[in-house]
């Protein structure tokens, strides 16, 4: 008997019992499976160099991409502003998917509405959906701003958002002066990082356009699409506090995706105050923490006369140094002694652990700025990046990473793969193995298939909890990243030496 009340087996153990193993065997008779030989032959083939060449030569088919679509990024950006309701104009399934996707990563609710366009709207346009949708959303959820992004259907049929919103105001869906931000976010252009940029720019356009800039000493910071935003934005604010810099985070989701469980559901919590967004036009400078999430915003900020600078997800020693030096340069304030001390602690930790990290090889995948950042930090740790893959990274990104690799002897073996998906990456790993893969949850398929451990350090992380609560930015964040890598290395060493007991050391 495979199940018992005393020892309840769920899916993890139940199907390993002999009863179920027999069931699988019997079922396979009806499945007409390929012969064992055919399967083995193909299994070997997909690991080969010949297959790799074909896999890398694909031009139409995409398999296991590491990117999402624009409106996801727009939604993420929108909810980072105070009492702002993310509002997708298009099919409702998209919104259901975005909300699920973010909830699975943050283990938090994610509120967003849709205009639920259906076949008739596809034919006649989505104006009535938008008019009704704004009226309902405004009445039921009482936002102070509505941030409209678009899904495929609205973009393909060419809905005129500006005109529709004008009509909605005329019909009384929302008050005449109620702020409605718009961003066109077609899913067949770019990826979620482009959508992020578009929505933050939409916000800035809404509240900056036509304003006379009266320069002040504040600094704006655009964090970019970031699965670690809860920890990172708070760490960012702490570092700015140490500096004594007055800053405005433009889209701050840190309190949005981290509300307490205390008997209340806060649909709107935290987020950048709209008054601060309005004032942000007067800032001295705007900094993008992730270049590829903020190019358009920075262009806009520069057009207002602000200084601008961008980084590639500053993580590790050199990148944090540069970020702090830039803050110092813009603000005219010295780098605080407290942060210098934190730098020293990071270096101390790196020195303590360097022997275990030295010479380890890595494949890294994720958004373009993240891959750049991780490659840089891995090299600082004495590791060697080998395959650097970004499905939504382009040629310009690849060139930048190649420049970076030239700055360190540890980068000599690395190759950069813009636009490639994770099935192509599988071929890279099958033919040229690395010790570890750094990426998102999807990297666990490499672990299953090729036995290469995955270190989860970027969005989405669905199968582990709470990583996003801890920062990876700044010197303190870098320690967390290093410990995450180190734990994996040492856990693996323990696992590999457990059976013989030789080298299964108490002290490492």
């Amino acid at each position: 008997m495979q199940q018992s009340a005393d020892d309840i087996k769920d899916h993890a153990r139940l199907f390993k019992t002999p009863e179920y193993q027999k069931l699988f065997e019997n079922k396979s008779k009806f499945e007409c499976p390929h012969t064992k030989e055919e399967v083995e032959k193909q299994s070997e083939y997909i690991d080969s160099w010949e297959y790799r060449e074909k896999n890398l030569a694909r031009t139409a088919l995409t398999i296991n991409p590491a990117k999402a679509c624009q409106p996801l990024g727009a939604l993420f950006a929108a909810v980072g502003f105070e009492k702002t309701l993310a509002f997708n104009h298009g099919s409702q399934g998209c919104t259901a998917y975005f909300r699920s996707h973010l909830a699975r990563h943050f283990k938090e609710p994610c509120a967003a509405v849709s205009t639920s366009m259906t076949e008739d709207a596809a034919v006649f346009g989505g104006m009535n959906n938008l008019i009704d949708g704004l009226a309902n959303a405004y009445t039921v959820y009482k936002p102070e701003v509505i941030a409209v992004s678009t899904t495929c259907i609205a973009e393909v049929i060419g809905d005129d958002l500006a005109a529709f919103i004008q009509n909605a105001r005329a019909k009384g869906s929302v008050p005449e002066d109620f702020p409605i931000v718009t961003a066109h976010t077609p899913s067949f252009v770019g990826s979620h990082i482009v959508g992020y940029d578009a929505m933050v720019k939409g916000m800035l356009t809404m509240f900056w356009e036509g304003k006379e800039r009266v320069p002040n000493e504040k600094i704006n910071i655009i964090p970019g699409f970031d699965g670690y935003a809860v920890g990172n934005n708070r760490e960012l604010k702490r570092m700015l506090g140490e500096f004594g810099i007055e800053a405005t985070i433009l889209s701050d989701v840190s309190d949005v995706f981290d509300t307490p469980t205390d008997g209340h559901y806060r649909m709107f919590e935290g987020g950048t105050p709209i008054a601060a967004v309005k004032d942000a036009v007067n800032a001295k400078a705007t900094i993008g923490m992730q270049k590829y999430c903020s190019d358009k915003c920075l262009e806009f900020a520069a057009s207002k006369g602000q200084q601008v600078a961008s980084f590639h997800y500053p993580l590790g020693v050199g990148a944090t140094d540069e970020f702090l030096m830039k803050l110092s340069e813009i603000s005219g304030k010295p780098i605080p002694a407290s942060l210098e001390k934190e730098r020293g602690r990071l270096i101390d930790a790196m020195a303590d652990s360097s022997a275990w990290l030295h010479g380890k090889t890595y494949a890294i995948f994720g958004d373009p700025d993240f891959v750049y950042a991780m490659a840089r930090f891995v090299m600082e740790l004495g590791g060697e990046p080998i395959h650097l893959v970004s499905t939504n990274g382009g040629k310009e990104w690849a060139k930048g990473v190649e420049e970076l690799l030239k700055t360190s002897p540890y980068g000599a073996k690395a190759k950069v793969w813009p636009g490639k998906d994770l099935w192509a990456m599988r071929s890279l790993l099958a033919t040229e193995r690395t010790d570890y893969v750094i990426g998102s949850t999807y990297g666990k398929l490499f672990e299953k298939d090729l036995g290469i451990p995955i270190i989860r350090l970027t969005f989405p992380i669905f199968d582990r909890h709470h990583h996003h609560r801890f920062p990876v930015w700044g010197y303190t964040g870098a320690i967390r990243v290093m410990v995450t890598i180190l734990d994996k290395i040492l856990d693996k060493l323990d696992a590999d030496t457990m059976e013989s007991g030789i080298s299964f050391d108490m002290v490492r």
Partner: protein, 496 residues
């Protein structure tokens, strides 16, 4: 339920509706009802367009077709045809387990395969790209037994002819290439996606294979087990019982299905369907065209399992009837032990459900087996026939809601104060913040199986670990004064 309690529920509904603009309140009012014993249906409208802007929980036709019906077929390559997002968000989320097979060699269920439309594909059309995508699928995955083309919104808007491409490529590669028109704007929910998926399965796999020699020795006990998506291994826990009673399952649809099993469709003697909503269409076809009778059953909880096993056996000879009794006799003691263990911990607890498919009704008696009661329930994408069937399960005074919005669910939970809420990932975390224990009843909250006797043990364990977890007693800081019972608040106050 006494009249006063029922009246207070009706008042709750009225209060919640008052948070909407008038026009919306009127529309939504038709989808919500307090059930009266003896009514022939639940008194709610269904299968109607969602209202824009209210935060519906529903998904789309693509989710119903790719996510539910076609996606689990393991030896086919399912192409999410269009931009990258739809396939990305549904990648590896449904937990429809498969047995055997190696990923990317002869099994593709856990992969995200897409034509990743770019702007030029929208401008010039995607048919040429689809042709090339299929060639590359063949090159990368030659052991596939077929390909499905799951179309996303733009495909239907730009006038692509995926049927023509599918026909041509099918001939070329000598395997089924099934075009599934499940653009997300079609229909009002996931439901139309199920229907479209059934129709394409009929036209491109079942009927074309009707003339083929079966891959098994035909016998009187050949059945199809359908409408089971093998979430957390559900289908296997069901299959176990049916096989033990002597039936021969020639096809399991579509959880852990192979193309061969789908092609066996016309060759069964009886169809056993679990999720009526998503697969009743193909049942009707198999009945009309091949004369195969079909029977709905319910494998949640020992009461319904025993009833179902006997009802199924009734359609066969004494050998199967004896088999059913043997199976019940074998498993009932284990089920009794599970009940003995958990009923004292769950007795009298009230559950509020909001799910899809068959679960808003089918799980009722599994809760009853544990001494629990379903006090409110509703469907994301049901039709009138689902609500009729629901009356066989629910009690007087049950609150029933169709296509509920997040706003309604939150207010209903606050008004009803259930001991457990069961819904989906989008509802989970907000509900827990309100202080209610929660289980996802789509993905089984990463647990399962929940079907069959083996699954009931897991179901009971999981409901207990949710309801009785110590965390729910820690929600209020000890220095905070006790709060008076809150009536459902209008949105205005709650937002402050």
């Amino acid at each position: 339920m006494d009249a006063e309690a029922k009246e207070s529920r009706k008042q709750l509904v009225a209060d919640v509706l008052s948070g909407y603009p008038e026009k919306t309140a009127k529309k939504r009012g038709k989808h919500i009802n307090v059930y009266e014993d003896g009514d022939s249906d639940c008194g709610v409208k269904s299968n109607i367009k969602s209202i824009p802007g209210v935060m519906t929980v529903r998904g789309c036709a693509y989710a119903g077709a790719k996510g539910v019906v076609w996606g689990p077929i393991k030896d086919m390559v399912h192409i999410s045809h269009g931009p990258v997002g739809c396939g990305q968000y549904s990648w590896g989320q449904r937990r429809n387990y498969v047995s055997g097979g190696k990923m990317g060699v002869n099994s593709w269920v856990v992969m995200q395969i897409t034509s990743d439309f770019q702007e030029k594909d929208i401008v010039f059309g995607g048919d040429k790209k689809l042709d090339k995508v299929i060639n590359e699928v063949e090159e990368m995955f030659p052991l596939n037994r077929g390909i499905s083309v799951m179309s996303e919104c733009p495909v239907g808007l730009i006038g692509d002819d995926i049927e023509a491409v599918a026909k041509r490529k099918s001939k070329e590669i000598g395997k089924p290439v099934a075009p599934v028109r499940c653009e997300g704007f079609r229909g009002v929910s996931q439901s139309l996606g199920h229907h479209v998926a059934n129709d394409v399965m009929r036209d491109w796999l079942v009927d074309p294979a009707a003339g083929k020699t079966p891959n098994f020795e035909p016998g009187p006990y050949d059945v199809l087990l359908i409408g089971d998506y093998n979430i957390g291994g559900d289908g296997w826990a069901s299959r176990m019982l049916l096989e033990e009673m002597g039936l021969n399952i020639v096809g399991q649809w579509s959880g852990d299905a192979s193309v061969a099993e789908i092609e066996n469709g016309s060759k069964a003697k009886m169809v056993l369907i679990h999720c009526y909503r998503s697969m009743n269409y193909i049942c009707r076809h198999l009945e009309e065209k091949y004369g195969i009778p079909w029977l709905e059953f319910n494998f949640f909880g020992p009461t319904r399992i025993a009833m179902s096993l006997r009802a199924i056996a009734e359609k066969f000879d004494d050998k199967i009837k004896e088999g059913a009794e043997r199976v019940i006799a074998k498993y009932q003691p284990m089920a009794d032990a599970v009940v003995a263990k958990y009923k004292p911990r769950l007795e009298g607890k009230k559950a509020m459900l909001y799910v899809g498919g068959l679960r808003p009704r089918h799980v009722s008696d599994a809760y009853a087996d544990l001494g629990m009661e379903v006090t409110a329930t509703g469907y994301e994408f049901a039709h009138a026939d689902d609500y009729q069937r629901t009356t066989h399960y629910i009690k007087d005074g049950t609150l029933v809601y169709d296509d509920a919005s997040e706003y309604e669910l939150e207010r209903f939970a606050q008004g009803i104060k259930p001991d457990l809420v069961c819904s989906g990932i989008k509802e989970k975390y907000g509900t827990q913040k309100l202080g209610f224990p929660f289980r996802q009843l789509h993905s089984w909250d990463y647990s399962g199986p929940y079907h069959g006797y083996d699954g009931f043990a897991v179901f009971a364990r999981d409901m207990d670990l949710a309801v009785n977890n110590p965390v729910w007693k820690m929600i209020k800081a000890p220095w905070k004064p006790a709060e008076p019972a809150e009536p459902a608040k209008p949105a205005e106050e709650a937002a402050e």
